[in-house]
Subunit: 327 residues, 4 copies
């Protein structure tokens, strides 16, 4: 297998979402090395703790992991050993498990991420319930003045064909007007948030004449593009399930940006599982009973119409799209 | 048992969160009656589909339910019948199950709610993962111009003793200033949201000279006090778990307002389970090993200090609070 | 749509797994009728509480349900009404949800079953974790002398092609020898179980000279073909997930027998969801990226081999099987 | 804190549940060392892969882990660093989280075990659904001739006070008779299992004149005391939840034997969490509202009866037991 592109490895330079103090802590954590009897994955160790940039202020950091492709194989065999020694066998077994929806061996690996993301992305993400989450608490702490402004190439009109999606990109001038609206409202929201909190760096009132409104109240003035952060832990099976839905072309661009980075993390962590995932999930198709009948008849040389196999016009359109090559 | 207070039954009059069309649909749904072999609960049927008002625009509606106290008893006995015939036995068994954390019989009952709630409340609520959720999609649809403004009596300063909580209520003038900030920012956010969408009631551009920005993008300008809505379904065990955490004095007032209404729903639905819940969970205390030792020694006439049982000052303070009468 | 075959409706006569007392209780439960505002499903009401026979002593009983196809549609629309009024639209929406793995609307319906099943079947069944279970306790109670003996037509040799499956059926004489071994060992196990328990119908010792061994100990002498029973509650999405795996030809015959009955229950309960399930899941195929490439090239008139699309021999064999018509 | 008793560390000698081949594989796995940036726990590394004996043929092996006490603290703070540097603070925070049921930080640590256990224990264990499981498949493979025979000191009569429990131990002679029954039936079951399988070490028929019955069928003749094995993975929160229920005096002895070993594993892995768990869960008490009232009144010098606080006789008895010192 080709190794993941090293040029994708994040530069260790400054990212807008990381403070110098955080950078120093990360460097310290990365410098520490321990000895372990556990399986380790070199390509993940390489990026451990390192923020992988996403969007304008966001990131994904792998902060811990457990298991590797061999652990999937081992669980499938419930054996003591490392499975068979030959790589072809392990890849073949992993393909078989993926193909036949034998999901439990993939649940034996776990990954823990630190993610910084806009609140509206967090709200889509959290729907995946089979995961553990610890989110930054705006009841307890004060959110930073960081919010997401989409780049002009991602500001698009409402799709006319897909009721939940984007169509054409706006022209430069209109896009800048959108950015301006979003930025000004976010800045004003944050200024008022700070006014309500009325707190200086030491926690004392900036304005002695006013009260310090409770954090849990003041935060409601912030808009959905402000960044939050969390620890998110899930297993390998549920990670691929998340990626199947969120690295999909129908997912909103902003969450897809995270899913794309996580797909690269998947490739580093469990390259065999990644390959099976690409072949059987991401690049595969679920064909209906009617669709299979159409394919069989077409392969037998028949001309087939939607009506012949009982499909509606919409189903036929989607079926035709499934038959087209993807990227 | 005292029956739930009938005065709590919602008036069928207008609530700010309900449109006349919705009111008509609810009335139609409430008028329909079917015959069923399933167990029914009179006190829930009475409020079925009816919006129970919460906060300034929110509500909770019970839209379906499955099972009752007898179903808990039946599951515990895995028998065909309705358990024993005498009510005292059923209450005794339910108490026993609650006391000993035998949770699975309570999982045999299910309730489905339609809830309208501010986004920041939804974000706390969703952490309870053992439930099913369908939320209104702002990728697909347009959110209404409805946002939460706390009443003056709920606008308070940051607590000085509890880092995530509220202290003293603000004086009237300051509170009105807070309301004004929140209201103005929400109105401006919504006006810009509409400007970005650029859509009239028929979906056509209001301003032909501008594009219609994708809904999934425009929504990011809205603040966290805007209302969303969802269907939320959970089982009786997980409902009580939710209520134990969210009807608690440490929960944020706004989610507690929902938990309080749901506690009344619980009382209507499964009065025996409600009674056990109040006695063993809401009104009970989890006392530590050290605390039990302190109680034993105090009951034996000893003067006991934190040091005697190895508690820190903070633990001792919390322990003392546990010994005080509640409500 | 054709209605479910009424001949499949269980006779109300005696089934070997039901005692006369249980029959009387079921008849009593079936006779009771209440009025409800909830949606009801006529075809399920018809069989409510009724044991549907499976294997030699087992059964499935629907003991409660919540929601119907309209509830799926309603959740998908998060609207007050019953969705659109025209049936074609509802079926189209349900097809769309099933096709695109939008699973959460299907989670809004719930079903509760009482199942009697051999322990080795229960052990496969319980792997489906997204469900609620209350099982008959052999720590607390005494198991009946009921065990599963496969019919001759289900006694087969180990499959030579599929390492977890059956091949040819044994000839009559050999099959009867297998039955004899299973029956004799089960009878002896139960006789010793009773000897250890040493309990008569009143709970007194049968043999005053011996102790009454604890039930939790004595039960370990029973074999895996003894029947147990449980209440099992799950949602519509997880029910179809269960059926996809357990009504499959690769599932063990004995659990498939239960899945087949549950597929009929599904058809009665939510006929639109059943139809989408059959078309998109049961009768559909998940084709890999390589498989889709092969299909595209074959449809373009090319002769394609495993090697051309990078499949192993085993993958190619499975792919060829996918292209063959089912049933 | 006292360190875990080193004498509990398993000898590396032979255990009845481990074959020499397995022993060699374990030794090989233990000999390998890698370098990692992840947090490591010395006391767990020490026992990694090593079978910790339980019952007569069972064991628990820790095969992987993720995180430590510091990871709990880190998640609670959602910070980059390792939390505060002073141990007292970390222990204090962990105590606070445990006391207030803030469970999500404990979900950030994960452990993976290989367990060999009797089937009837596996059936109790599997009820804990928030875990990942891969069990040895008796459809695919052949079970070993290993079954559990309780030691004489664990063979007891049915409890007269607790309907699911044991009372007095049997006298030696009776106990040996029980062992004899269990052993003879297990041996006969296994002999017939082998007869049905009709397979020699190479998979060829032992008796050419007979068929080889499918493994998935033959296994049903085995009794519930035969050993199975699985990989079981769970998070730290759910592990403590499991231990609270299964290390309890009301749990069946055989599963408690596993829970006791796992409590030692917990102490090695996360000593601070272990300490909080012992103080707030294992050694603590959940006192009802009525019980708290009784305690308050007794501390005020009052003589209190069950009737005074509205308890039933059974509730009062349990309450009195809560007030008594435990071990």
């Amino acid at each position: 297998m080709e190794s993941p592109d090293r040029t994708k490895t994040p530069a260790t330079g400054a990212h807008r979402g990381i403070t110098p103090e955080q950078r120093a802590e990360i460097d310290e954590a990365r410098a520490a090395q321990s000895s372990t009897r556990r399986p380790t994955v070199e390509a993940i160790e390489e990026i451990l703790y390192e923020p992988l940039p996403v969007l304008d202020h966001g990131f994904v950091r792998v902060v811990d992991y457990m298991g590797d492709d061999a652990a999937v194989v081992q669980a499938a065999r419930v054996s003591y050993g490392k499975g068979t020694k030959r790589q072809r066998d392990d890849q073949g077994l992993i393909n078989y498990l993926m193909r036949n929806w034998h999901t439990s061996p993939f649940e034996m690996c776990e990954i823990k991420l630190h993610v910084k993301l806009p609140i509206f992305v967090a709200r889509q993400w959290i729907r995946h319930r089979t995961a553990n989450v610890n989110e930054y608490s705006a009841r307890y702490s004060i959110l930073d003045n960081e919010f997401y402004i989409p780049a002009p190439e991602h500001i698009a009109v409402q799709s006319s064909t897909n009721r939940q999606g984007r169509g054409e990109v706006l022209d430069r001038e209109e896009a800048m007007r959108v950015q301006e609206i979003l930025r000004n409202d976010a800045l004003r929201s944050y200024a008022h948030y700070e006014e309500l909190l009325n707190e200086d760096a030491e926690g004392n009132p900036r304005d002695e004449g006013r009260s310090q409104v409770a954090r849990e109240l003041a935060r409601m003035n912030l808009s959905l593009n402000f960044y939050t952060q969390w620890y998110w832990k899930t297993d390998l099976h549920n990670l691929t399930h998340f990626l199947r839905l969120r690295a999909d072309a129908h997912a909103q661009y902003e969450i897809r940006a995270y899913a794309d980075v996580l797909t690269e993390v998947l490739e580093r962590w469990t390259p065999m599982t990644h390959r099976a995932f690409v072949n059987y999930r991401l690049g595969g198709q679920q064909i209906s009973k009617q669709g299979m009948e159409a394919i069989r008849r077409m392969l037998a040389g028949e001309q087939v119409t939607a009506k012949d196999v009982g499909m509606s016009a919409g189903e036929w359109r989607e079926f035709q799209a499934q038959l087209k090559p993807t990227d």
